[in-house]
Structure formats: structure tokens, C-alpha cells
């Protein structure tokens, strides 16, 4: 269980998240929604310890994440697929995967499993990451995060700018992670995709909680979500 309890965080003097709380359970897909600039990416960075959390706590399975040195957070099993992929562009596909494998000293079996999921990456192991197509880059960003066998998987708009078949491939990975009992926290803008997958939705606005909806509430009244997002 990921529990975020009343956190305040921001960039230097600019506070972005204000008393934000959210929970994400194992074996479920929890979606984080909100308009552009609402603070979704900022929430992800706060979980990763990349921003100072000045109030509140973040815990994973009861153990505090907030307060840890940032590089310790992924070692507790948090895999991060950032918005815009953020690959190590000058490194090869294989080297990007190695960085992911080193995080928690995963073995070659993990590497095999991940490459099993993305056979296209296997054909391109020696290729520089910044020469991959957009879809392949997203595969690599996902594969890199899976390399640390995450207990908690953070995905920040993983389908941004992808064609349908690629979106489906990413969706399959997300479902697989859910079924294996991982905690999945997903930032997603496409309402239909959210309605189809989410077990729980947190809507935020201006860095504050706006509404929490579970799957039943979503199914009963999808228009609520649309109203919050202004579509």
C-alpha cells in the first residue's frame, strides 16, 4: 500500500502540492488525473524523493519513503516511468537496461523477462536510445523501470503521443503488473482508458485533492470525471 498523507511540496519557493493525500493499493490500478499544471508530475517526483516534502508523509507498505535520500527510494522498489521518457539518450538500449538492473541488483533472469515483454528492444540492444522511434523509446522507458522489479510502479502519461497498437502494448504491461500484485499509480489524460482500467481515481486541482472515485462510482456516473477535467 502506498499512502500519501497531507504532503506539501514544490520547487524552491514555489509550493505546488498543498496537503495532498492519496492511497494506492496492491493489485489495483490507481489513476491520478487533473488538468495540465494540476501537479500530477510533481506528485510523482515527490514520491521519488526528487523534491523536498516539507509537510506530511509518504509511506510504502508502512515504511516511510519521505525523508529518505532520493537515491534510496528506487531501491525500496519504486519504478518510475517519467513523462517524456527521459532515457539516457547517448547510452545504448542495453546500457539503459543495465542502469535499471543495477538499482536493486536484479539478475540476468529479470533482464530476460523484461526483454520477453518487449522483443523489439532485444533486436536493438546496441542501438543508441536517442535514435529509437518514439514508441520504442516508451518501451525502453517502461522496460528500464521494470528492471528493478518494482513493488510500486509510477507511470506518468505513458501513452502520450503513441499510436493505438503501442498504447495497447503499454496497457498490457500495466495489466500484467496489476495482476502480479504490484501497486500501480498511473497518470493518464484519456478518460476512456481510465474508465476501462482504473480501480480508483484521484482527481487533483491546483495541487489539492478535488475528488476520489472508485470503480463503482466511475461506472455509475462517468460524467463526473468529465466535468472535473473540463471536457
Amino acid at each position: 500500500m502506498l499512502e500519501i498523507d497531507g504532503i506539501t511540496a514544490g520547487y524552491g519557493p514555489a509550493t505546488v502540492l498543498r496537503a495532498l493525500s492519496l492511497r494506492a493499493a496492491p493489485g489495483q490500478i490507481t489513476c491520478l488525473m487533473g488538468r495540465n499544471g494540476a501537479g500530477k508530475t510533481t506528485t510523482m517526483k515527490a514520491i521519488m524523493g526528487l523534491l523536498p516534502v516539507t509537510a506530511g508523509t509518504i509511506t510504502l507498505d508502512g515504511a516511510p519513503l519521505s525523508g529518505l535520500p532520493a537515491h534510496e527510494v528506487p531501491r525500496r522498489g519504486v519504478g518510475y516511468i517519467p513523462q517524456g521518457r527521459r532515457l539516457f539518450g547517448e547510452l545504448t538500449v542495453a546500457q539503459n537496461l543495465t542502469v535499471g538492473l543495477m538499482t536493486r541488483k536484479s539478475g540476468p533472469d529479470t533482464r530476460e523477462e523484461v526483454l520477453e515483454l518487449f522483443p523489439r528492444l532485444r533486436e536493438r540492444l546496441a542501438q543508441r536510445a536517442d535514435t529509437l522511434s518514439g514508441g520504442e523509446q516508451q518501451m525502453l522507458a517502461t522496460a528500464r523501470a521494470l528492471c528493478l522489479r518494482p513493488r510500486l510502479l509510477l507511470l506518468d502519461e505513458p501513452t502520450e503521443g503513441l499510436q493505438p497498437s503501442m498504447i495497447e502494448a503499454i496497457r498490457q504491461v500495466i495489466l500484467r503488473m496489476r495482476d502480479s500484485g504490484a501497486i500501480v499509480l498511473l497518470v493518464e489524460q484519456r478518460i476512456d482508458a481510465v474508465l476501462a482500467m482504473a480501480d480508483h481515481v484521484h482527481v487533483i486541482e491546483n495541487g489539492r485533492n478535488l475528488e476520489d472515485l472508485d470503480a463503482a462510482a466511475l461506472a455509475a456516473d462517468p460524467s463526473r470525471l468529465r466535468a472535473h477535467l473540463g471536457v
Binding site: G49, P69, H71, Y80, F88, G89, E90, Q95, V99, L148
Partner: protein
């Protein structure tokens, strides 16, 4: 002596210079490449290497060879450790901000220089080379019976100078292998490319920075140790080393190791040759002019990547 042998002699001197310069500059280039900061105190680490070599040679008994080997190991370790400490206590505090790092390392430069003056003193002091056989070099000449080999008077080098060249090549090769083949190199390159993402994958970026700063200073110190048996140690010797390293790193392309090596050979060799045939001042003038030309026509340097 004819022109040919004379040129060969100048080129040998230039090669020694290039070797030492390549070592010093690759340290500066490594630090800039990974940390994106300019270390103005880099030349002082070179000077410290030479001065520590003198101290070690004074205090370790058992002949010049043992003293020199001890210096070769101790000086880079001591100086690298000192630099890592400076990184953790100073550069980390100012968040590796590029401008403030320049000012901070200028301060470091003066502190190191003054401490060296107060402890080591104002005199230049020699360190005895571990070995120093004169090696006469052959030259070819058309004689009555066709091509003949002879040994012109004055055309010689020493075994120590050859050793400096070989040692520099070996160390640079090791650095290149470390960066391109090892896990440590992968960690450094990931940190260089995207520090935030490196952190998000468990890389302790601040420790990587301290290590890189230490390795960079260690390389300069190693160059300092290698040069003392030829040039003597002096507390102001860091100035020229810094200037030439900057020239090399700018011409080669900031942060590019191959570029640094090529530029060091170019500058070292031309410095050697021009100094022998004309004057050392002219050599510096030409090198500086070359920097100006590179900055105008190819600001990213010969091997540097364009700003992304």
C-alpha cells in the same frame, strides 16, 4: 646537427609535453563532462602532485626508485582525496552552480597555493628520476653505399622521458576503459546525461560527483608526479598547467576525452617544436590564437557535441 634529427628531438620533447598535458587536461575534461562545472583550481592539483612527490621522495628511504613509486601511488590518492573533500564541503554546498563554482575554485586555488608556499617554500626543488639512461637515437642518411644508419651527436633522449610517454598513454587508456566498459563508467555517464533520472534509478549522484572530482584531481596530480623529475616542483607551476589544460579542453571540445587527447597532442607537439625552433612565447601565442579560432569557427570544439 642537420634539420631532420633536430626536428625529431623537438618532437620528442613535444611528445613528453603532450603526454603530461593530456593527463592533466583529461582530468579537467572529465570533471566538466560529468559535472558541468569548470574547476579553476585544477592546476593546483597538478602542482600538489609535484610537491607531494618531493615530500614523499624526501621521506621515503631506499633509493630514488622506491621514493618515486611511493609518490606515484600516494600523491594521486592524497590529492584526489583532498579534492573529493573539497567537493563535499564546498561545491555540494553551492549546489554545483556553474558561476559560483568558478568563484569557489578560484578561492581554492589561492588557498592551496598559499599553503604550498608556507609549507613547501618558494624554491623549485628537484626529484631524482627512478632511472635516467641516455638513449642515443639513430638517424638515416644517404651515404656512398646507399641508406645508412648513424647516431648523430646530440640526438638522444632519456629512458625516463620515454617512460613518461608510455605511462601517460597507459593511464589514459585505463581512464577510457573505465568510462566506456565498466559499471562505474556507466554510472558516471548516466549521471552526466540526466542527474535526476540517475537518482531515480538509485545512483547516489553526490557521491558520484565527489568521486569524479577526486579522479580528475588525481589525474592532474599523477601528471605532476611524472613531470617533477624533468621540471622540478614549484608552488606556482599550476598556472601554466591550468592555462594549457583549458586551451586543450576548449580546442578538443569540453567533456570529450578523445578530443582532449587529440588537442593535447596537437598543442604539446607544436609547443615542443615551436619552442625549440623559435621561442616558447611564440608557442603560447599560437596556441592561444588557435583557441580564438576554434571559439569563432567551431565553438563546441573539434570533437565536442553541439549543445542539445
Amino acid at each position: 646537427m642537420d634539420f631532420g634529427p633536430y626536428l625529431m628531438l623537438a618532437m620528442l620533447e613535444g611528445a613528453v609535453m603532450a603526454a603530461v598535458l593530456a593527463l592533466t587536461a583529461s582530468g579537467l575534461s572529465l570533471v566538466f563532462g560529468v559535472m558541468r562545472v569548470v574547476n579553476v583550481a585544477h592546476g593546483e592539483f597538478y602542482m600538489l602532485g609535484a610537491v607531494v612527490a618531493w615530500f614523499v621522495a624526501q621521506h621515503v628511504g631506499g633509493g630514488p626508485a622506491i621514493g618515486f613509486v611511493a609518490a606515484l601511488i600516494l600523491a594521486p590518492l592524497l590529492v584526489g582525496g583532498l579534492a573529493a573533500l573539497a567537493d563535499m564541503t564546498i561545491l555540494k554546498r553551492i549546489d554545483y552552480d556553474p558561476e559560483r563554482t568558478i568563484v569557489a575554485t578560484i578561492g581554492l586555488l589561492y588557498v592551496i597555493q598559499q599553503v604550498a608556499l608556507m609549507t613547501y617554500g618558494p624554491n623549485a626543488q628537484p626529484v631524482e628520476p627512478p632511472f635516467n639512461q641516455r638513449i642515443a637515437l639513430p638517424w638515416l642518411e644517404w651515404g656512398d653505399g646507399g641508406l645508412a644508419i648513424y647516431f648523430p651527436w646530440g640526438l638522444s633522449t632519456t629512458s625516463y622521458k620515454l617512460f613518461v610517454i608510455i605511462a601517460a598513454v597507459a593511464v589514459i587508456l585505463a581512464v577510457w576503459l573505465l568510462m566506456s566498459r565498466s559499471k562505474a563508467g556507466l554510472i558516471m555517464r548516466a549521471t552526466q546525461l540526466d542527474g535526476e533520472m540517475a537518482t531515480a534509478f538509485g545512483i547516489p549522484v553526490e557521491r558520484v560527483y565527489a568521486a569524479v572530482f577526486g579522479i580528475g584531481a588525481g589525474l592532474a596530480a599523477l601528471a605532476g608526479v611524472l613531470i617533477v623529475p624533468i621540471q622540478q616542483a614549484h608552488y606556482l607551476m599550476g598556472g601554466d598547467a591550468l592555462l594549457l589544460s583549458f586551451i586543450v579542453v576548449i580546442i578538443g571540445g569540453l567533456g570529450s576525452l578523445p578530443g582532449t587527447i587529440v588537442a593535447a597532442v596537437l598543442i604539446g607537439m607544436s609547443d615542443g617544436i615551436i619552442s625549440v625552433f623559435f621561442s616558447p612565447t611564440l608557442a603560447k601565442i599560437i596556441a592561444t590564437l588557435l583557441v580564438a579560432l576554434v571559439l569563432v569557427f567551431r565553438p563546441q570544439g573539434l570533437f565536442g557535441a553541439r549543445a542539445r
